[in-house]
């Protein structure tokens, strides 16, 4: 009896599971679903990705009068043939435009490639316009992007697309216009596929084969010119730096000289304080100063290793004794010998000569 009940329970469970499969459906968080009864949409399940109270932006509305559920989970339905539920992937995916040569207004040829990321936002429109075929959606989107790209690039020059001057570069502007153009097309009733473009960008700017050959030729010429320019620039900079340094040297030396002069004049002024003392006997002071100067000149010459030859007259004391002899000198010995005058000592009768060997 017990085994019988167990069997009944097992069969009942299987039957229940089968029944549940027939009357319940689940929608994953990354899917959208359209629930139809006798072909009429009765419910759209379009879960948002928000978790933990995360605010999600408003999504475009679907068919009027249709309930939209924004939570994933399980839902009831009537079994086939009454109800039919169609699931679609609502994740964002990418599509690349085909490579197509475009003639620019400046005569250049360009082959741009553009990508777009897109997702299904209105599964009802998607189902009704494209029969829910994602490949067809991609094909149509590619065509729209291609149309927009060709049309837009036809209004820009190569300098607008690639340029080292940021004020002339219009890359961002072109991308924004492309995105706006594609979105406008998808918003129009003709191309209302129930999809949305999330981002768009120019992934490649290629040139036709023959244009690349021309670029290679120009690159070689430019490098040659650049090499010449670099060498002459190097020489010019070197010379300029040296000339600047020489000017700087003159300035430094001039400043030093000026400073030296200032120091000397200050010293002169300070030394002048003692001239009052010299004025007490001008003759003696000058005489002593000249002797010092004479000794200093001779000493400096000797210190520098310059051979010093002194030419003196026999009239110069003490060599006067050579002319006068001892007797004359003695006869005049009542007093001190007559000393040469200061002018004589300074100018004609004695001289100190220093010369390089």
């Amino acid at each position: 009896m017990r085994e019988k009940w167990l069997s009944v329970a097992a069969v009942g469970l299987v039957a229940l599971i089968l029944l549940m499969y027939m009357v319940v459906y689940t929608v994953r968080v990354d899917n959208v679903a359209v629930h139809r009864r006798f072909g009429k949409v009765v419910r759209v399940v379009r879960p948002t990705l928000g978790v933990g109270g995360d605010q999600q932006p408003a999504r475009p509305p679907v068919e009027e009068g249709v309930k939209v559920y924004d939570k994933a989970g399980f839902f009831w339905k009537l079994p086939w043939p009454f109800d039919r539920v169609q699931h679609y992937d609502q994740r964002i995916r990418v599509v690349d435009s085909p490579l197509a040569q475009t003639q620019l207004p400046d005569g250049n040829q360009l082959i741009p490639r553009v990508y777009a990321s897109w997702r299904i936002t209105d599964p009802v429109a998607f189902e009704e316009s494209l029969s829910g075929d994602e490949q067809t959606a991609e094909q149509n989107l590619k065509q729209i992007i291609s149309d927009q790209t060709g049309g837009l690039f036809g209004t820009y020059t190569l300098d607008d697309v690639v340029n080292t001057d940021p004020t002339q570069l219009k890359f961002d502007e072109i991308e924004q216009k492309l995105l706006a153009g594609v979105r406008d097309r998808l918003a129009s009733s003709q191309d209302a596929y129930g999809i949305e473009v999330c981002s768009l960008g120019i992934t490649w700017l290629a040139l036709p084969d023959d244009a690349t050959g021309a670029v290679f030729g120009r690159m070689e010429k430019e490098r040659h010119t650049q090499a010449e320019t670099l060498r002459s620039e190097g020489t010019r900079i070197k010379q300029t730096r040296i000339a600047e340094a020489r000017a700087e040297r003159e300035k430094i030396l001039a400043e030093a000289e000026a400073k030296a002069k200032e120091m000397r004049s200050t010293a002169e002024a300070e030394a002048a304080r003692y001239y009052e003392t010299f004025a007490k006997d001008e003759d003696l002071a000058i005489f002593l100063r000249r002797l010092d100067a004479f000794a200093e000149i001779a000493r400096a010459a000797l210190e520098k290793g310059q051979p010093l030859t002194i030419l003196l007259s026999t009239k110069t004391e003490p060599f006067g004794i050579l002319e006068k002899g001892p007797l004359e000198a003695s006869a005049q010995g009542e007093g001190p010998p007559e000393l040469p005058a200061l002018e004589e000592l300074q100018g004609t009768s004695s001289a100190v000569e220093s010369r390089e060997d």
């Binding site: 995916r93 730096r241 030396l253 300070e270």
Partner: protein, 393 residues
């Protein structure tokens, strides 16, 4: 066994006397018993096996989170909390999911690399001989980039990224975008990286690209801008944190690089750049030397002036003191004054003459006299040093 039972068990043919093959008593009984026993054992095994299977299936629902991942638990396709958390993090213990209606989705949080190796690269390995490289590029097979000065370069780069582990970022990574398992955002990131690279290289000079002057930081910055824009437009993030954008480094392969067809010209230009730098460096060195010497000379001039100034003042001071001391004696009488002057004079001459290596004392004859006296004093004669120049006079 009763007679009736025996009859029942026997077939009519077996009952006929012409075929007297009596059934051995107890044979059918034993078979049935054996069969029943075998079935019972089999059922027991089956029950145990099923119980084990069910147990195994249920136990498979136990899971934990590895260190380099986070996980989401879904019930009927909806993200639900486990232990009060939306995102299940590593080292938070064991979790359980029910079979059939619950599932677990992992998100790897370790650093991953998106390799953009071939998008802007051309294989020149078949054109090794110099001068025999192809002169054009084919968009169907060759990748390249157009620079801001309309040159062509090749580049290989890599974006390093990490899945975000916050609920908003991780849920987008897992369910927001379509892509390879565990790397769902890569297709979109790949396109963003291409677009950023195309734009940045298209705004730079070719040599700046080749020398990588702020190249990868600018690309990285542009990719980040695009990620923000994507989130603004779609309402959901891509679910990644961009770590950095970097070149793919390969031994002996320059990256970024000019096309091989023009590499010789680039090499010459590069050499010229080195020459220029060398010339500039020489100029700088020479300039520094000149200025250093000037500074040194200036310092000498200033030091000499300082010395002179000090000497001047000290000398004046000393002279003044000497005059001050001598004056009282000097003024005593004329003879004393004369003697003093003579002594000073003679002492100076003596000092100088004794130190000078050579001296001539010449006799100046009287007017009309033919006598002349020359006295040479000196410890050594002055030698002739240059041709035609006399060493002594």
């Amino acid at each position: 066994m009763s007679e009736n039972e025996k009859d029942i068990n026997q077939s009519p043919e077996q009952a006929e006397p012409s075929q007297p093959e009596p059934a051995s008593p107890g044979t059918g009984d034993a078979g049935s018993e054996a069969l029943a026993g075998a079935l019972k054992v089999s059922f027991t095994f089956l029950k145990l096996a099923m119980a084990a299977l069910v147990l195994f299936y249920v136990l498979r629902g136990i899971f934990y989170v590895d260190p380099q991942e986070v996980k989401f638990k879904l019930r009927f396709g909806r993200v639900v909390q486990a232990k009060g958390e939306w995102v299940l993090r590593p080292a938070t213990g064991l979790y359980f999911r029910w079979p059939f209606f619950e599932e677990v989705v992992p998100v790897p949080t370790s650093e991953q690399g998106l390799n953009l190796g071939g998008a802007f690269w051309t294989d020149w390995s078949h054109d090794e001989m110099p001068g025999q490289q192809k002169r054009t590029l084919d968009v169907r097979t060759d990748g390249f980039l157009l620079t801001g000065d309309k040159n062509i370069v090749h580049m290989r780069l890599l974006a390093r990224y990490q899945a975000r582990s916050d609920p908003r970022g991780a849920v987008s990574y897992a369910f927001g975008v379509e892509g390879p398992e565990g790397k769902a955002p890569e297709p979109i990131l790949d396109r963003m990286l291409r677009a950023a690279t195309t734009k940045v290289v298209g705004s730079m000079e070719v040599m700046d690209v080749i020398n990588r002057t702020n190249l990868f930081s600018r690309i990285e910055s542009d990719v980040r801008r695009r990620l923000d824009e994507f989130e603004r437009n779609s309402g959901v993030p891509l679910g990644i944190d961009l770590v950095r954008v970097e070149p793919i480094e390969t031994e002996k392969v320059k990256n970024p690089t000019e096309p091989k067809t023009v590499s010789a010209a680039f090499y010459r230009a590069q050499n010229a750049r080195s020459e220029r730098d060398l010339l500039v460096q020489e100029g700088n060195t020479e300039a520094t030397r000149i200025i250093d010497r000037a500074k040194s000379a200036a310092a000498e001039v200033e030091a000499a002036a300082m010395g002179d100034a000090v000497r001047l003042v000290r000398s004046a001071e000393a002279d003044a003191r000497a005059v001050e001391r001598l004056l009282p004696i000097y003024r005593l009488s004329q003879p004393i004054a004369n003697i003093l002057r003579d002594r000073f004079y003679q002492r100076t001459i003596e000092e100088v003459m004794t130190r000078a290596p050579g001296a001539f004392v010449l006799h100046t004859p009287e007017e009309g006299s033919d006598t002349e006296l020359r006295l040479m004093l000196g410890r050594r004669p002055i030698t002739q040093t240059t041709e035609g120049e006399e060493g002594s006079q």
